[in-house]
Symmetry: C2
Subunit: 309 residues, 2 copies
């Protein structure tokens, strides 16, 4: 199997866009038609979430390279929700999508190994079988090693939180130590891991989560981590625009996937899509919103050059 | 329902010990008699893990205040493992134990709310129904709020990672910013949250994970967080002794729970318990090892005063 960074690059080139569709299936946001039954019945909720996520996947699979399920919204539905997560991941992969699982896991030693084995690798290798997983860096270098080792073995990827998109992220991440902020210390470590695991495309098995809500830091971090794929949250619902995220990409239009979740999957709830489609045609709203995001990124970022070569 | 810090204090006093038994059910470490069947069958593995964890709980319930299941080892077994986790938590609570779930979760906004709802509160309120959850601080203050809010509403608790027991934890946690290490910045925030949510016992809904492997920092952090319950990992298998953890407790012997996992639950694999009991009598080994730890803490820490009042 090709290394994850090369698979991601090929997928982004094939679809001609860095759009990463986030699957944040908040039950209370689902179209009314899917929310029948007893709201206290977690099994019924999980079933609705599965229908919804698979419906989103069917629409976006021909349009984008990858999806990002947010584990919390499946975990909130209990064991039934976690079983649905496995089926949603498998459905996405059968549809040709890469799956970057947003779990922000981490721990030390054999516990980190257990998390890595739970999520990374193909479905025959791990229960959930994701192509990549987001992990938190607070526990330090040795906590990241088991994820990186297993990702290398299994053709999977790891995205380390470097700079998050929320205002409160500054509390710890922007503290200045030894002349540079904490997030730069993390970035330097990520770059070392990425350089050491670089695939044919020049990017490594280890990538970075860098929020779009701080554009100047996005440019700084792009320079600091030339070998790291970026996963960029914060587009759309959190306020960042195409121009804001342009600096995350390399001049060829690769090197970053740009995530939008609620603004795409719940597009039927916002204008202009609400008026055009309404809740019954929620899948058409997903398609139109995704197309709008793809076109916006083509117009205002290096993603416009993805079709050139 | 009483606030979590008061429930924890009452339980520690009732049992006369701060020992927190960690449930890290690594399948390859289980007694041979429990590991029958096809090792590739995750359902069978999950069944063995359930039998083992419930067997540990039955032994330690009369001896200690709380157990700490490590989510990763259940998650590694897929959806069946997560269903077993819910049953193990319920079994522990029926046996009178508090359950501090070690998941090291976190995220931002509505996603943090989803994690909190997944794990915190009684079994009628959340799918897993734990009494408390460990969370990671890298995403900052606003990421912790949803956990604290829900914990206050549901009589549950939150333990924030402050200083972890692994060597690599120093990479980020020991960076010095504005004259003090990053972990002290986290500690100051935890103390503010703990003071604001203090129960009758003087400790708050928000506690701190502070590794036992750095005894001098344990004392420093005890002073810095007078309102925070400490969850202290690193005892036993990771090398810390009773004298090392004494500084985590207040003079009455409360204020900290001291975790040991492998050294207790897999005691049948180490001397002197291996010779005395062997793998068939693994439950007696758990009991003997737990008793040894309880007595060690009574002899060399303020826990010896727990029976006084």
């Amino acid at each position: 199997m090709l290394a994850f960074p090369d698979r991601l690059e090929a997928a982004v080139r094939r679809r001609g866009t860095p759009v990463l569709v986030g699957l944040d299936p908040r039950w209370d946001m689902l179209p009314d038609g899917l929310r029948g039954g007893d709201p206290g019945d977690l099994g019924a909720r999980a079933g609705a979430v599965e229908t919804f996520c698979c419906g989103v996947i069917d629409v976006v699979a021909p349009m984008v390279a990858a999806v990002k399920p947010q584990v919390a919204f499946f975990e909130q539905l209990g064991p039934a929700g976690m079983a649905v997560l496995a089926r949603v991941i498998a459905h996405a992969q059968r549809a040709g999508l890469l799956v970057i699982l947003d779990g922000k896991r981490n721990d030390i030693g054999s516990t980190a190994v257990a998390y890595a084995k739970a999520f990374l690798g193909s479905s025959g290798q791990s229960p959930w079988g994701a192509d990549a997983l987001t992990v938190s860096p607070y526990l330090g270098a040795d906590s990241l090693e088991p994820f990186v080792d297993l990702a290398c073995q299994r053709g999977a990827g790891v995205f380390v939180l470097v700079k998050t998109s929320n205002p409160g992220g500054r509390m710890l991440q922007d503290l200045v130590a030894e002349g540079r902020p904490v997030y730069r210390h993390v970035a330097d470590h990520v770059e070392a891991l990425a350089a050491a695991t670089a695939g044919r495309c020049g990017y490594g098995v280890v990538g970075a989560v860098v929020g779009a809500t701080y554009p100047e830091q996005l440019a700084e971090l792009r320079s600091a981590m030339p070998h790291a794929w970026f996963l960029v949250p914060g587009f759309g619902a959190q306020g960042a625009t195409a121009r804001d995220v342009a600096a995350a990409m390399d001049p060829r239009g690769t090197g970053a996937v740009i995530n939008s979740s609620r603004a795409l999957i719940f597009a039927f709830r916002r204008e202009p899509f609400a008026s055009r489609f309404g809740p019954e045609r929620w899948q058409q709203a997903v398609e139109a919103a995704t197309r709008e995001m793809i076109e916006g990124l083509r117009a205002d970022t290096p993603a416009g050059r993805l079709g050139d070569s």
